[in-house]
């Protein structure tokens, strides 16, 4: 009887997981499917789930707009593909900004988390105060940010975007890295210190290698946040710096409105690093949490 009940709950749990997975997967599937559709199927009703006329034209528009226009010219009733911005530059800018902001965020986050864990900096509730910063909707600070950035002449610059992203992901960095550092017993550092290492060197040689996996997981998580950020990119840039998310919004034409297929192609490509890093993270998250250092 008990066994049957057990298998029932197991089946229910699995069912729920499958449903959740399908719901999460559906938009990704739709994105990918749309990226392969010819333009007349983008907004078809009833929807075309899997196109029978797959094309790489959307991807061509993203990466080789000139060539795409030549191909389009040979087709009848083709669309106006005059799009602004370059996907290449968007990827490059996003990579620069996301990488730099991630490194800064993790470096500052590690140092801050260390000081909170070891020296009880800021008192007991300090880490929670950090998190509350994230509970505020980002849109609330957009206007002051725009004003501040224009005064500081940081608008539409790499430095500005990197600073903005660092500031906004720092609470996550501190919070996550703190949880990893708390796993490392203070005694290990103490042992290194009584053996002649300064506190900072003890931190570098003993503690840091133990939380390496966790810090890497944090970095990937922060990178994903940076990579997929849209709001600040939208309001703090004006054409000089362009991120991947902004470039997606650029695929609009005067005569035919939103180029859904092209946006889907750009979206699919820009999702790849996120999926890839997400896959790596789960491995490191588990490892980072099970790195027991002291045998008790």
């Amino acid at each position: 009887m008990a066994k049957r009940k057990h298998s029932w709950t197991t089946a229910l749990k699995r069912g729920a997981v499958i449903v959740a997975a399908l719901i999460s997967f559906l938009p990704i599937f739709w994105l990918f499917s749309t990226s392969l559709k010819p333009y007349d199927e983008w907004a078809e009703w009833p929807p075309v789930w899997i196109t029978e006329r797959p094309t790489l034209q959307n991807y061509r528009i993203v990466f080789f707009p000139e060539e795409a226009r030549e191909v389009a010219a040979e087709q009848e009733g083709s669309l106006d593909y005059k799009v602004s911005g370059s996907a290449w530059k968007a990827f490059q800018d996003s990579a620069i900004i996301s990488t730099c902001a991630t490194i800064l965020s993790v470096v500052f986050g590690t140092l801050a988390a260390y000081s909170i864990v070891r020296f009880r900096t800021g008192g007991e509730n300090f880490p929670f105060q950090f998190l509350t910063v994230r509970m505020m909707p980002p849109i609330a600070v957009v206007v002051p940010m725009v004003a501040l950035f224009s005064i500081l002449r940081l608008s539409d610059t790499y430095v500005g975007m990197i600073l903005a992203y660092t500031a906004f992901t720092l609470p996550f960095s501190i919070w996550m890295i703190r949880s990893f550092l708390e796993e490392v017993p203070a005694e290990l550092e103490g042992a290194a210190m009584v053996h002649g290492l300064s506190q900072f060197r003890a931190f570098l040689t003993v503690t840091l290698p133990l939380v390496k996996g966790g810090i890497l997981a944090t970095a990937l998580f922060i990178f994903i946040l940076n990579w997929s950020e849209f709001l600040f990119a939208l309001v703090l840039t004006s054409g000089n710096v362009i991120t991947v998310t902004l470039q997606v919004a650029n695929y609009v034409s005067a005569s035919s409105g939103k180029l859904y297929g092209v946006q889907a192609a750009m979206g699919t490509i820009s999702t790849l690093p996120v999926i890839f890093f997400g896959y790596i993270i789960q491995k490191h998250l588990v490892r980072g949490l099970t790195f027991g250092a002291v045998k008790r």
């Binding site: 103490g190 290194a192 053996h195 002649g196 300064s198 506190q199 250092a293 002291v294 045998k295």
Partner: protein, 366 residues
């Protein structure tokens, strides 16, 4: 041996409202093995952390070789510390663990290898030098932790309950091992423990602490034979001391005690206030006999506890029970015995101040 290595001068530490260590003054001579003994929360580990430099004292001073080390960061104090959990670097090999401190101190490679080889030999670590420290058992890990500290030749070695993770047999083996190494290296050791047996068997002197305050310092014999107060008397000794209420009568300077079964029993002369006191009697100081004798009182055996080498009898004594250690099979439950007290082996404790006001060392004991 007489040279002072470590001096704690009115050392104090408060955490917010809590006074963890209250004005602790203590000296440790070169080559001496001194134990800080007390129940958990008595401030002994905090004291150790202050000496190592992990906690900053809120009062007093710590002097090593006569110079204050308060301004010296932990990594420059050259004070070795073995942690309760050993804090062995589990990802490193045993050899790398031993090399850790020497590398940090910048000891040349050749010298380093010589000292590691020597220490590995001494602590029987040679067969496991190339193993990862994470896979070692507790005894090996403890020896690695000890060797890792000793190889750096610390001027003072602090041990924080290093035996508490070990089972009894291993504890016994490592106790004598530790003593042997300490003697051979003439290492000055401050040993923190809550285990009276460890403290008594290892130490040259014991400092008993309670609630942040030093209760008594002395050789194991002094602590056992002449406890300074009720706490020390009760904390040391297994089975614990019997505390029997008694009435002190004074005529002139002559002191006599009366308990539920005995007395008045002359204790000699001394300046003692008359009235109710507590009489401390160690379980092996109770004289038991099958026949009535002078000053003996009849009692009944209620419980017999078998400890192997000896038995503990729990005897009626007024409205309480007292414990007495005897040879095995001396008596059985329900037996009637005659018990008498040896005036030279009694500890008279003031029930107000809880200080031992008189013991067998009392002046003029008959």
């Amino acid at each position: 041996m007489s040279e002072v290595k470590l001096e704690l001068a009115s050392l104090a530490k408060s955490f917010d409202e809590v006074e963890a260590v209250k004005g602790l003054s203590l000296t440790l001579r070169r080559g001496e093995f001194l134990s800080l003994l007390g129940p958990s929360g008595c401030g002994k580990s905090t004291t150790l952390a202050m000496i190592a430099g992990f906690e900053e004292p809120t009062g007093g001073d710590i002097l090593v070789d006569g110079a204050s080390v308060l301004e010296v960061p932990p990594h420059r104090r050259r004070i070795g510390l073995v942690f309760q959990d050993y804090a062995v670097f589990s990802r490193l090999k045993v050899k790398a663990n031993l090399a850790f401190g020497l590398e940090a101190q910048g000891v040349p490679r050749r010298e380093r290898q010589r000292r590691i080889a020597e220490m590995a030999e001494r602590l029987e670590l040679v067969p496991i030098l190339d193993r990862r420290a994470g896979g070692l058992n507790m005894s090996e890990m403890q020896r690695v932790a000890l060797a890792r500290v000793l190889v750096t030749e610390p001027q003072l070695l602090l041990l924080d309950e290093p035996m508490s993770n070990l089972d009894a047999a291993l504890r016994y083996a490592l106790r004598s091992e530790l003593k042997r190494i300490q003697r051979a290296l003439e290492q000055t050791v401050l040993y923190v423990t809550h285990d009276q047996l460890e403290a008594i068997s290892l130490s040259d002197r014991i400092a008993v602490m309670r609630l942040g305050e030093l209760q008594q310092v002395g050789t194991p014999e002094e602590i056992y034979e002449q406890p300074a107060n009720r706490f020390v008397a009760e904390f040391i000794g297994d089975p614990p001391i019997n505390l029997v209420p008694c009435e002190v009568a004074v005529s002139g300077r002559e002191v006599a005690v009366t308990t539920a079964l005995h007395g008045p029993l002359p204790l000699g002369s001394g300046e003692i206030a008359p009235g109710p006191h507590l009489l401390g009697i160690r379980p092996h100081d109770l004289r038991l006999s099958r026949e009535a004798g002078p000053n003996s009182a009849e009692t009944q055996v209620r419980v017999v506890e078998n400890l192997g080498a000896e038995h503990v009898l729990h005897l009626d004594y007024g409205d309480m029970l007292v414990a007495a250690t005897v040879a095995p099979n001396f008596a059985e439950e329900g037996d009637s015995l005659f018990v008498s007290l040896d005036p030279e082996r009694l500890h008279l404790i003031d029930s107000g101040s809880e200080q031992v006001v008189a013991c067998r060392a009392l002046e003029g004991v008959a």
